[in-house]
């Protein structure tokens, strides 16, 4: 079944106002282009699930797409603060943000329970942490094997999960390598799933290495080719991270008006991801070239 769609079509088909949407990727293969398309289409009242925040969280907040956030790390990676987010949390400016906070281990456990259709997942941490005291959704169950009561976190089942990967076939068999984050669990946890990829490849390439598939086709609703769709984050074997962009965002976003202007010019003022990339300047990507380092092929041979 051919599941390829354009990015605008995929987002408009599978996302609705008010949805909980997971955008995952841990500083690598992040669905940035998809986040921008959500801004372009003007979705509102979304709850964003994202373990480790970055520029797209500030951008979605600035564009007023979000009423809530589920996260475990709310800085801009190592590039500084996310000032839209801090204004919302510290000063309710322009309005309060519902913030459902966990640790990374807690977020991993929530996605895992969601993917597994379990009501909750036990977790060995949290004893004595104010994070558990602050969040009523972090609770506990007795240990029937004689230990102390153990903390549990509830399943997270986003209405829509979006992940980015190096490649997929048109059916939606998704392959990724390098740092994989929690993408497989977020994908299975989602009620719907969009995968953006650097390229859609012939299925023979995918099938030459089936252990490389991180999400099988039957879980995928739409697969979308979006080259450089993870910028400013890296894609192993495709392009390097753009640290200048991330650092400049943390400077720019100190000024709420600058955020609005940036969104108007670079996202709402561009019709698609290619135009967004062009808006950064024609020489913008000269520094992010990478070297080649190919894996040694392994032999999948069996009985012929």
């Amino acid at each position: 079944m051919d599941k390829t769609l354009s990015l605008p079509r995929a987002i408009s088909t599978y996302l609705s106002d008010g949805d909980t949407v997971a955008l995952e990727g841990f500083g690598h293969i992040v669905p940035v282009a998809a986040a921008h398309e959500i801004i372009r289409q003007g979705f509102t009242d979304l709850i964003l699930a994202r373990m480790s925040c970055d520029v797209i969280v500030d951008q979605l907040l600035g564009a007023n797409c979000l009423r809530g956030l589920i996260s475990s790390f709310v800085a801009n990676s190592s590039a500084g603060s996310l000032h839209e987010l801090r204004r919302r949390v510290e000063k309710s400016d322009p309005e309060p943000l519902w913030f459902d906070e966990y640790s990374h281990g807690g977020m991993v456990a929530r996605y895992q329970a969601g993917a597994s259709k379990l009501p909750f997942q036990p977790i060995a941490s949290y004893r004595g942490s104010d994070l558990a005291a602050k969040n009523p959704r972090i609770t506990s169950v007795p240990d029937p094997y004689g230990g102390p009561d153990i903390y549990v976190v509830p399943a997270l089942n986003p209405d829509l999960t979006i992940i980015h990967a190096q490649r997929a076939d048109k059916h939606g068999n998704v392959q990724a390598w390098g740092m994989l984050g929690v993408q497989t669990e977020a994908a299975f946890a989602g009620r719907r799933l969009i995968v953006t990829v650097e390229e859609i490849v012939d299925e023979d390439i995918v099938r030459s290495d089936p252990n490389r598939t991180i999400v099988p086709a039957h879980v995928v609703d739409a697969v979308v080719a979006v080259p450089r769709g993870s910028h400013p984050h890296s894609v192993q074997g495709y392009y390097d991270r753009d640290d200048d962009f991330s650092r400049q965002w943390s400077a720019l976003a100190r000024d709420p008006e600058a955020v609005q202007k940036w969104l108007e010019t670079n996202v709402r003022g561009t019709s698609d991801h290619d135009e967004f990339l062009a808006s950064l300047g024609s020489d913008h990507f000269e520094t992010s070239t990478i070297h080649d380092a190919y894996s040694t092929p392994v032999n999948y041979g069996g009985r012929a």
């Binding site: 500083g27 500084g80 640790s103 060995a124 102390p148 009561d149 390098g178 390097d240």
Partner: protein
């Protein structure tokens, strides 16, 4: 990316404290040349003797592990929160999710394996953490500054994986660039990552596997603790640092060891390794 290492807490060039500048003997290296980063890195590396598996952020902890591999702990291995083990990057990584860590690494684990099987699975000997605040029992705050949790004065990055590192690692090394009463406090504004003493006071949850914070390495000296109910004790000051200065810069009544030592300054060999081999472009040795 997500642990509060010192890189995220503190930015900008940090010279070593004035007192240290005046007093450092320069026997083994000219004290003018020793930056705060170098000092903290060298003492972090030395503390890794006898340890094998380290969970660490990029920057100073990465440098410290590299230095330890060349000196006191040849077999020590670093595990990054991004799931990478056995990394051999051609240049210093810019964050723990820098894809420069991946080519030539020994493994890349998905996050379920890293958090469930490695951290929670108690496979880590030492976890390096940073924090905005630490108290006398080594409990850490990396969540917020202020009285009102719902509207903090400053919202900090949050736990990332710090809670799990504290709960699962055998011990935690805390690196703090600036030893001040604002960071070494009597009461945390928020207990993000509780040590075992704080955990034991709670009524619910699994007990941490390890000892919590055992080493705190700062620009003034080194504090250690080894038992659950033991307070952090000043066991060493850097050359020229008066212990009373450390007590004054600490927000609780700091215990000072009767056997207080003065740290050995970075040796010429250590500095040479750091400067010429491990971070020649001085990305972290600012």
């Amino acid at each position: 990316m997500s642990l509060r290492t010192h890189e995220e807490a503190d930015t900008g060039v940090q010279a070593v404290g004035a007192a240290a500048r005046e007093a450092s003997t320069g026997v083994q290296a000219s004290h003018d040349e020793v930056t705060s980063s170098e000092l903290l890195t060298v003492h972090s590396a030395r503390a890794l003797a006898g340890r094998n598996v380290v969970f660490a952020g990029h920057g100073l902890p990465t440098l410290a592990v590299s230095l330890a591999q060349h000196t006191v702990a040849p077999d020590v291995e670093i595990v990054y929160e991004s799931g990478v083990t056995g990394a051999r990057p051609p240049a210093m990584p810019r964050s723990i999710s820098d894809s420069i860590l991946v080519p030539g690494a020994a493994s890349v684990m998905p996050m379920t394996h890293l958090f469930n099987y490695v951290l929670q699975g108690q496979r880590i000997d030492v976890g390096f953490l940073g924090a905005a605040q630490v108290d006398k029992y080594g409990n850490l705050n990396s969540t917020l500054i202020g009285d009102d949790w719902e509207h903090p004065d400053s919202r900090l990055p949050g736990s990332g994986g710090a809670i799990e590192a504290m709960a699962g690692a055998a011990e935690i090394f805390l690196v703090m660039r600036r030893h001040t009463p604002r960071t070494f406090v009597e009461n945390l504004d928020f207990v993000t990552s509780p040590g075992p003493r704080k955990a034991a006071e709670a009524e619910v949850g699994s007990m941490p596997a390890g000892a919590g914070v055992t080493h705190v390495i700062t620009d003034l000296g080194i504090m250690t603790r080894s038992a659950r109910d033991e307070e952090l004790t000043l066991t060493a000051v850097h050359p020229g640092i008066d212990p009373s200065e450390v007590v004054r810069q600490t927000g609780w009544n700091l215990l000072v060891s009767p056997d207080l030592e003065t740290t050995q300054p970075p040796s010429a060999a250590e500095l040479s390794l750091l400067r010429e081999q491990l971070d020649p472009t001085r990305i972290y040795l600012r």
